[in-house]
Symmetry: C2
Subunit: 197 residues, 2 copies
Amino acid sequence: MATTGEPEERPSRGRRADARRNQQALLTAAAKVFVASGVDAPIRAIAAEAGVGMGTIYRHFPTRSDLVIAVYRHQVEACAEAGPRLLAEADSPFTALRRWVDLFVDFLVTKHGLAQAMQSGGGGFDALHAYFLDRLVPVCGQLLDASVEAGEIGSDIRAFELMRGIGNLCVGRENDPDYDPRRLIELLLRGLRPPRS
Amino acid sequence: MATTGEPEERPSRGRRADARRNQQALLTAAAKVFVASGVDAPIRAIAAEAGVGMGTIYRHFPTRSDLVIAVYRHQVEACAEAGPRLLAEADSPFTALRRWVDLFVDFLVTKHGLAQAMQSGGGGFDALHAYFLDRLVPVCGQLLDASVEAGEIGSDIRAFELMRGIGNLCVGRENDPDYDPRRLIELLLRGLRPPRS
DNA sequence: TTAATATACGGAGCACTGCTCCGCTTTGTC
DNA sequence: GACAAAGCGGAGCAGTGCTCCGTATATTAA
């Protein structure tokens, strides 16, 4: 079963002080290790970095997903909240969509292995997959709907499919000069435009 | 170093009879296990299925890539050879490209985990990645060039990037009714069309 | 302050996997 | 049949995920 939960949302009221400290230390350590070794770094390495035992990390974050979600929650939220804002600010819904996709891609490609993990790769990442989708698909759907309404999009693509495709295109070794996911995503977006009359 | 290989191309002349038998048994066993458990199935499982020891499998196929390549070589070759043929047969270069991509996608999505492995996921799959690219990028490039020449393509996408994008879009659990990579690939191809005048 | 209890900690240990290494077996040859 | 070369098998090591439970600590009550 996927753990749905916000382990660090409630700031640990009523729990023991050492537990709170350890949870914070784990988040900090995980962020550091993720940058260095990717989101599928050995759990032991994160525990060591935080100076705690294996049991502690599993108690606070039963699955890998829980830890990754906790580490990146703020940024995912920011991305989700940017959707409506862009829609209000931009010249047109499609421009907003384009910018939002850019934001999303920026987030993905700077996190080593996150794009891979976000696609239900089959590790302990199921909850992560669900979290991203639950949080961002509606936002993407809103941008998509607005673009359709404005007649800027001809295709009947669904938000889930688009997001999954974008995520997939971001999978792979970062810093590869021969592969820029943005270029392909631009192509994908261009493919959404209505057929020439 | 990536083994460049063709271990089964030369039909084992001059080698001992048991070695030839085992190699064949391994190919058969691997094909079966790949279907059941994907291309990243435990090596032990393949060895067991073939009724040989660990040493034997590593002697014949030093890396996982070597084994995967050997198992699917025929189909990759068929795909590579289909390129020029389609170019000759089809109404237009872009139609040929479209059909070829279809062929490629068919191949990828029916092999559990192959698309994932083909993108240098970082396992023992480096040689596999190189093989696919060496063999298919030139074919794709030919189709792309012909399409550009015919004025059917406006973008300056390179073959490597396109193939990599297609491969990426095919990554993920097969048989997911909510995600059809073909739809996104169609969008991608549509995005290649020249901008409306 | 001290005692009692719930809470949390730590890491040994098991299962699984990749890969190597080397003593033993089989094959081909004379 | 004897011999060397070729090949085989699997024990064993290292890395990893995850669990389990004896021990330590924080908190509360007295």
